[in-house]
Amino acid sequence: MKLKASQVLADYGLYFVLLALVAISAILSPLFFSYINLANLLTQASFTGLLALGMTFVILMGGIDLSVGSMVGFASILYATVLHGALFTFMPEQIFIYQGAPKLTPILPLPLDILFVLAVGSLFGLLSGFLSHRFRVHSFIITLCIMIFTRGLAVSYTHGQPLFGMPDPVSYLAYGLPARIPMPTIIWLGSSLLCLLFLRYTRFGRGIYAVGGGEEAARLSGIQPAWYRIFPYIASGFFAALVGIMMSGRMGCGDPKIGQGWELDAIAAVVIGGTSLTGGKGSVGGTAVGVLIMGLIINIMNLLEIEAYPQAMAKGIIIIAALALHSLLARRRKG
């Protein structure tokens, strides 16, 4: 097997794109390499990154999870509610706390609160995965319903109002800077590393690739597809809930409206990262690069003080350009 230039380009093209974007950004703005900018860039990327990480599992299985954005909002509200010990009172009016109110001490120990919200997020994922598997309905439509439902639940529960009064340790998840590295980035990269090892070095992980790449082939190889088909949605729900908790800390409140449209950023990052929408092909590393590419595009436009709406236009165009480049390089490899 000879190493051909075109093949190297096809296999590592994404990394070249990332490097090129870094170089362009550095040339366009002297502020790019400042600590503040980089920390900000990485923090922003981390939230999309965690959602994209869960989404990678789902897309590897040939599915899609539209519910993650809503799940962020729902988890954020749920978390605030649990902290207030008011989950079962169904009277959020009583726990509205004005901005600047003294911070609450959670009634349950904090780790239990976090675990509870993560579990609920995972359960919603389990529900999506189970429904999609059991009734053989594409997850697009199932998770669309879950997306509408959870958003509705979050907004109606709090009448659209945020819930204030986050305790300090939660803010640390969002603002902490151990060794000058943003905490969200540590969580994102740590989770990515774990998922990467999981997908590459466990039989279950390889089974996800197998079932996503060809369910019948996997079945005939002796793999029972059910759990492989359901698990990715659990992972996706889990990471969405994690992002919800972190966002609560970041904003100092539970916000039922946070996360709208984030599922699309996550999907775009995964696809830019080279994971095939038809399943069975892709990687966590690619997704991380895809997230950084998206983050860089936004960041450089912010530095250049481009306004939000032209930014959105540019984002759309650049994502298509990235995908086209990817497809061209991949075709050269085949030819």
Binding site: M1, L197, R200, Y201, T202, R203, R206, G207, Y209, A210, G213, G214, E216, A217, A218, R219, L220, S221, G222, I223, Q224, S276, G280, K281
Partner: protein, 506 residues
């Protein structure tokens, strides 16, 4: 080797009932250690259902399965594999994005420290199994990048690695060239000598007589009989297969009588090239002529067909239809100009499996089946019904989904699709592959009728008797080139083989 007369695998009274259909009706089947037991029967005879049950994919409704005398129930393919039964499916279920080694060890990858998969160990073990059958395959290569014959070798290596005592081959010859098949037969012979039991499914009589020890014939889900190969002749076997007598020599001689002197060329191909695939193809096709194209798999036959109808881009060359230069950039252009292709991969490219017989037949002709602005469904139904009766397509009704038809009838649907259009050149890529003996004859008959009606035909086939039986001239391809074009009377089995393997000189 053989445990005192106890069969390695013994199935008794296997019955499988689908709503409205008895797929298998009390079928007995057994394999001894060190035996190649062929399983034959027309499509729909129940062969696939039987092996899916033996392989643990389907549950049986009645009957018993014994492995070395002990009764077993297979709950899943995995369970059957663990008991030592491996099925090599015809359309090999592969995971193209995973490596060769991973396809072999899927779900049971060797693990090292911390229960992490050890890729080094996995590749080493894969290499060992591949070497055992002398397969020159790199374990780290992606399986999807390999040709189908190599993929088959990987499946065999996988069966060996599973320590399979019974290996079931589901029509391997449908996807292998004759030289690859020879290799496979050698491998099967050595598996047999190791005391494994082999089940070999095939439509081709030659193969059954070449490697079989016994043959079991199924028809309409029922057992016709099991015979020792040494004790029967071809005629008996054919009679068992189809339940009536077919004169085999008919296929081989019919073309002889019709060596038509062809007038003006209809299709001319000049210098057609596609880098790495086709090199300087020159061809002439006359009115009412059948041009056979023979070659080993990978010789560029399918690629030639695809290039002619514009499915793939070409780098150089021109195509002339009745002296007029054609500009074909897509299959749509080809159809407009009067060329069509019945593709090799019938199920994914020839028909829409999930659509009805009527929809499939009428699709290309919808333009002419309109009443005013809208589609006229009465007209469409009459149009489709007309072809169903003309081609004798066996379907309960026009709305039947094509996936429920047998292979032969699916192929007739492909034909019907094109017959209704005013086309001049028909390209058939392996039109009789994987369909039963009786239907093969019918398809060949239809092709001959087309030629008699003045259509020009390019017929690609890997079966030499078929090529010799039907063609007016035979083009032989080798490594993307046309090595020779022989008139029917000069074409012999030996010459076709020689040219297809690249022997240029006489």
């Amino acid at each position: 080797m053989n445990e005192a007369g106890v069969a390695l695998l013994e199935a008794r009274g296997i019955t499988k009932i689908y709503p409205g259909v008895v797929a298998l009706d009390g079928v007995d089947f057994e394999v001894n250690a060190g035996e190649v037991h062929c399983l034959a029967g027309e499509n729909g005879a129940g062969k696939s259902t039987l092996i899916e049950i033996l392989g643990g994919s389907y549950a049986k409704d009645a009957g018993t399965i014994r492995l070395a005398g002990r009764e077993v129930e297979f709950a899943s393919p995995r369970h059957a594999q663990e008991q030592g039964i491996a099925v090599l499916h015809q359309e090999l279920p592969i995971l193209p994005h995973l490596s060769v080694a991973e396809n072999i060890f899927l779900g049971r990858q060797p693990r090292g420290g911390a229960r992490a998969i050890s890729y080094g160990e996995m590749n080493r073990q894969a290499r060992r199994w591949l070497e055992m059958i002398q397969a020159d395959v790199e374990p780290r290569a992606l399986l999807g990048d390999l040709p189908i014959s190599r993929q088959q070798l990987v499946s065999i290596a996988k069966a060996l690695s599973l320590e399979a005592r019974v290996i079931i081959f589901d029509e391997p010859s449908a996807v292998l060239t004759s030289s690859e098949l020879k290799r496979l037969f050698q491998i099967i012979a050595s598996l047999k000598s190791e005391g494994r039991g082999i089940v070999y499914i095939s439509h081709r009589l030659e193969e059954i007589f070449e490697i079989g020890d016994r043959v079991t014939v199924l028809r309409n889900g029922k057992l016709v009989g099991t015979e020792s190969i040494g004790k029967i002749d071809r005629a008996t076997l054919i009679k068992m297969l189809v339940g009536r007598e077919i004169d085999e020599s008919e296929a081989a001689t019919a073309g002889d009588t019709a060596t038509r002197e062809a007038p003006a060329p209809v299709l001319e191909v000049r210098g057609l090239s596609r880098r790495g695939v086709l090199a300087d193809i020159n061809l002439t096709l006359h009115k009412g002529e059948i041009l056979g194209v023979y070659g080993l798999v990978g010789a560029g036959r399918t690629e030639l067909a695809r290039a002619l109808i514009g499915a793939d881009r070409v780098d150089a060359g021109e195509i002339l239809l009745e002296g007029r230069k054609l500009n074909i950039a897509s299959p749509r252009d080809a159809i407009r100009n009067g060329l069509c292709l019945a593709p090799e991969d019938r199920k994914t490219q020839g028909v829409f499996l999930e659509k009805s017989v009527q929809d499939n037949i009428s699709l290309p002709s919808l333009k002419s089946l309109k009443g005013g602005l809208f589609l006229n469904y009465g007209k469409i139904a009459r149009y489709a019904a007309d072809f169903v009766s003309k081609l004798r397509i066996a379907t309960p009704h026009l709305q039947q989904h094509v996936k429920y038809l047998s292979g032969g009838n699916q192929q007739k649907v492909v034909l019907a699709k094109w017959l209704g259009m005013k086309l001049k050149v028909f390209i058939f890529d392996e039109p009789t592959r994987g369909i039963d003996v009786g239907a093969k004859e019918e398809i060949r008959g239809l092709i001959k009728t087309l030629a008699r009606e003045g259509k020009s035909i390019i017929m690609i086939s890997s079966e030499i008797p078929e090529i010799l039986g039907i063609s007016d001239r035979v083009a032989v391809m080798h490594e993307g080139r046309i090595e020779a074009v022989l008139p029917r009377r000069e074409a012999t089995r030996e010459r076709l083989m020689a040219y297809s393997m690249g022997a240029k000189s006489e």
